[in-house]
């Protein structure tokens, strides 16, 4: 039943994608608007197929239908409801299914948003591109990553998901957030390709896709932050980012997406960087596919494992097609992509954005090189190597510092050219804020060149962002907090919180391993003090459930009880740590049990990290800022500048607005 429903859903989605491509292409070719307008029907068909397949898989997981290979391999009757639901995206086939569902949602959203313009060739081509991407993912589900394979011999139970995926609720939310980000970039990519195909390469299509890009970027940001938080809370190593290939795969499109969000303003305002922006958008989408290839093909285990994976070849081929199509189209349209103006001075807003983009591009190159180098090395020389953390840290630290500097300077720069007087006037308050931050850091005991420089630059940049917000709110009240510029400044503040937390937690982390006893004895204290935090071992406990056996050790941290534990899952060959973290705004104390407690003793690792909670607060501020940048208010036309006066009675409409107009016109 579940297999039949799910396979039916896949077939419906596949049919919708193929039908959509053929029908809309016929409409474009024969210039028949009603055929192009049918894109909406096909989009709903794809979404319907995705929903049906998703529902069938969830039903199979919830009803423990072990006749499905996916459920038998990754499900278990002992898995709690939340993790059981999340098992759908815990492995390859299910994650492709989730991707297809989200893609279906975006396709319908685009079809609805542009429902009055589906016969515009630009929108029609964008729909074709979206259908092609949908087709690719439904083909994956129909063939090499079929989630609805049925077993001939049905087991009575399954092993359940990977233990690491079922011991923290964040795992239920982190992947969907990432997928909303990854898949969301399909929309601006589709419009970019459509603009290249139709030759309508003005700035109009950028305006239309601005919010879609911001939406995707916001979810990718949230997904990455949640992933770091999960890593910190679950793995018990005191870190949050380890430059693991899977992490890098999510960071790469985020970097190019961030570069695009900045550089697109230069194109909108001055008509420059057209090739660059198109390339960034296409690169961002291509990198989401490359990331999927890296994480889903088996290539990370070994390039030889990759050759056994049929999905790997398909993903790599799709990546190649995206790159080739982009290069060919950009080359073909080269004459129309020429900028009408040039950057007059590096000391200008556009100059700063250009530099910001160069730095982001360098950052992406650094990470891409480090991530794919082991694969290339193994493929060419059969040499299994690993690129260590020092490479990534040495390269990213100076890049981060330059970006902090640019975050301070760029917002105060005028367009075209800045005089020294202007710069001096506008940078004086940010400079004072930076100096104050530096002085405060030194007074509170911070030492070391790199962290102190980071604190100064963060203060400097925070001063620039606050200056903009203060000026805007003085003029417009609360509306000074919304809109692209002001929302962007709030995002900057979130980034700065994260930068300070990264610098402080990295530079001033204190770590201590200890064996502690309930009754103190020689070499085995019952209470230790780490960085001013008093930690007392109280005793151990064991909790056995169908899902897992949990051996906890209870501690008092500054008088409050915490119980880190070791967990053993029925399908796990190793014990999985479950650390606890005591968070305050100034520092966090992490406790992880490093060996099962027994006979009144326990081995524990204590990690004290300053300001780490600001990583998560900064992430939340970034998300809020993004929303404020994207949604200026209901009563405005979407592309109105946010601070345009609100009309007294209804929106002001230009006389020609009653006429339907093509995308890329004045809207």
């Amino acid at each position: 039943m579940n297999a039949a429903l799910g396979t039916g859903g896949v077939i419906i989605g596949l049919t919708g994608a193929i039908g959509g491509i053929i029908t809309v292409l016929m409409g474009i070719g024969s210039k028949r608007p009603h055929l192009m307008a049918m894109a909406r029907t096909y989009a709903f068909m794809i979404l319907g197929g995705g929903v049906l397949a998703f529902a069938a898989m969830e039903r199979a997981l919830i009803t423990r239908d072990f006749s499905l290979e996916y459920v038998a391999t990754h499900g278990s009757s002992a898995t709690p409801a939340l993790y059981n639901f999340a098992t759908l995206w815990g492995a390859l086939e299910g994650s492709i299914l989730l991707w297809s569902l989200v893609l279906g949602l975006f396709t319908v959203a685009v079809a609805l948003k542009f429902r009055d313009r589906l016969d515009d060739p630009l929108v029609a081509w964008a729909m074709v591109v979206m259908f092609v991407v949908c087709l690719f993912f439904f083909v994956l589900m129909a063939w090499p990553a079929d989630p609805f394979k049925v077993l001939s011999v049905v087991p009575s139970d399954g092993p359940g998901p990977n233990p690491l995926l079922q011991n923290h609720p964040l795992m239920a939310f982190h992947p969907p957030m990432l997928y909303l980000g990854y898949v969301g970039f399909t929309v601006p990519f589709a419009f970019a390709i459509a603009a290249l195909i139709t030759g309508r390469l003005g700035e109009g299509w950028l305006v239309e896709t601005r919010r879609w890009t911001l939406f995707a970027w916001t979810f990718l940001t949230i997904g990455i932050i949640l992933g770091a938080w999960w890593s910190h809370e679950v793995l018990g190593w005191g870190g949050y980012w380890g430059w693991d290939p899977v992490e890098n795969a999510s960071l790469l499109p985020w970097i190019t997406g961030t570069a695009y969000i900045h550089s697109v303003m230069v194109q909108e305002r001055r008509g420059m960087l057209r090739v660059w922006n198109l390339s960034l958008l296409c690169a961002t989408f291509a990198l989401t596919i490359l990331g999927t290839f890296l994480t889903r093909s088996g290539v990370l285990d070994s390039v030889h494992a990759f050759s056994d994976s049929s999905i790997g070849w398909l993903l790599l081929s799709f990546f190649g097609v995206i790159v080739a199509v982009t290069v060919v189209l950009v080359g073909w349209r080269g004459d129309r992509l020429r900028a009408p103006a040039r950057i007059d001075s590096p000391a200008s807003r556009e100059g700063a954005f250009l530099l910001n983009n160069i730095v982001f591009a360098a950052f992406a190159f650094v990470i891409l090189l480090g991530t794919v180098f082991p694969l290339i090395s193994e493929a060419l020389a059969d040499d299994r190597v690993t690129v260590g953390v020092p490479y990534f840290e040495r390269m990213s630290m100076p890049i981060g510092m330059v970006l902090l500097f640019l975050m301070a300077v760029a917002p105060v720069l005028p367009w075209r050219k800045a005089s020294m007087e202007t710069l001096a006037t506008r940078l004086i308050w940010p400079g004072w804020v930076g100096a104050g931050a530096l002085a405060f850091a030194i007074l509170t005991g911070a030492r070391g060149f790199a962290p102190l420089l980071a604190f100064f630059l963060a203060g400097f940049a925070a001063g620039a962002a606050l200056r903009q917000l203060v000026l805007a709110t003085r003029r417009q009240g609360w509306r000074g907090l919304v809109g692209r510029t002001n929302g962007g400044m709030i995002v900057h503040l979130g980034v700065l919180m994260i930068a300070v937390a990264l610098a402080a937690s990295g530079a001033y982390q204190i770590e201590r391993d200890a064996r502690m006893c309930v009754e103190a004895e020689t070499g085995c204290p019952s209470t230790i003090t780490v960085q001013g935090h008093e930690i007392t071992y109280v005793g151990s406990s064991e909790n056995v459930t169908a899902q897992k056996t949990e051996i906890g050790a209870t501690f008092l941290v500054d008088g409050k009880e915490y119980t880190p534990a070791l967990q053993l899952f029925p399908n796990g060959s190793q014990t999985i740590g479950k650390p606890t973290v005591k968070n305050t705004l100034s520092s966090s104390v992490m406790l992880s049990v490093t060996d099962p407690p027994g006979d009144g003793t326990v081995a524990v690792k204590v990690i004290v990290q300053p300001l780490i909670v600001w990583l998560w607060i900064g992430g939340a501020v970034m998300a809020i800022g993004s929303l404020m940048a994207a949604f200026p208010g209901r009563r405005r036309r979407p592309i109105d500048p946010v601070s345009a006066p609100i009309p007294a009675a209804g929106p002001v409409r230009r006389p020609d607005e009653d006429q339907r107009e093509p995308v890329g016109a004045s809207t």
Binding site: R200, W243, V387, T575, P641
Partner: protein, 277 residues
């Protein structure tokens, strides 16, 4: 129907004119400084005028003179050199950060899921070798430095030390090491009474040290404490019980006590394949 070029020009014109309107609103609302406003307005106006002019010229059948943009060769070279230098720097740093990738290692980065001392000790067992006992001894010593009561590390640290000195000429130092190994195995049993290997190797070591009586006591203790199948397999493979019985029988019929160290069949090589923990 409009041609592609016409459509492009129309989009461009409409966008620029619309942007000028947006600019006015932004300036009126105070989003833009006067300076930015002037700059952008001039830019948009000139671009819009150019677009309109091009459109009119096309309508009149003219073709506007296209001024070929000169490339700045110096700048191009400087950019190329900069990109190349950065790529070389990145390449050098990659080369400097390379390491061998073992089974299960990540291709990049260093997320280290917290390993318990027992897990680390089990990893040390994988490098146990008769030819090079020292590597595993150092590995176990690291674990014991963090967790002195770790039964797995105590057990195998003692055993590999036993191997290391198995062919050594009797001396005061060797005697000290052997006594120390016995003490470490006692400590392992005390630290984790359920760790069967500690009891098994305690019996083996006692027998190797020529104390068959104590070896028998330890072996009985091993049997009485529900040993794991893996530990029992090691004992059975070595025929320890039979050898102890033979030794005790021989010693009871002879006043001469023979040591079995040199001819012991309890070859240390078997431990390298012993299952973990």
């Amino acid at each position: 129907m409009a041609t592609e070029e016409d459509q492009h020009a129309a989009d461009e014109r409409e966008f620029l004119l619309g942007s000028l309107e947006d600019l006015e609103r932004e300036h009126d609302a105070g989003d833009l400084t006067d300076e930015d406003y002037e700059t952008l307005r001039d830019d948009y106006t000139s671009r819009a005028a150019k677009a309109l002019r091009a459109s009119n010229e096309k309508a009149e059948g003219h073709r506007g003179d296209e001024v070929a943009r000169r490339r700045n060769r110096g700048r191009t070279i400087a950019v190329a050199v900069g990109v190349l230098a950065f790529a070389v720097l990145a390449g050098l740093l990659v080369a400097g950060s390379l390491g061998a990738r073992g089974q299960g290692d990540a291709a990049t980065g260093g997320i280290s899921v917290q390993k318990t001392p027992t897990q680390r000790a089990q990893e040390c067992q994988e490098v146990m070798s008769m030819a090079d006992p020292q590597s595993s001894i150092e590995c176990f010593a690291d674990v014991l430095a963090d967790d002195p009561k770790n039964a797995v590390a105590l057990t195998w640290f003692a055993w590999m030390n036993e191997i290391k000195f198995s062919d050594a000429e009797p001396s005061q130092q060797v005697l000290q090491v052997r006594l120390s190994n016995e003490a470490l195995l006692d400590a392992a049993v005390a630290a984790n009474p359920d760790y069967s290997y500690a009891r098994a190797l305690r019996a083996v070591v006692a027998f190797r040290h020529g104390d068959a009586q104590r070896a028998k006591e330890y072996l009985d203790d091993f049997e009485a404490n529900d040993p794991s199948a893996e530990a029992r397999a090691v004992i059975e493979q070595q025929q320890l019980a039979q050898r102890i019985d033979a030794e005790l029988a021989a010693s009871s019929s002879s006043s001469t006590t023979s040591t079995t160290t040199a001819s012991s069949p309890l070859t240390p090589g078997t431990t390298t394949t012993a299952p973990a923990g």
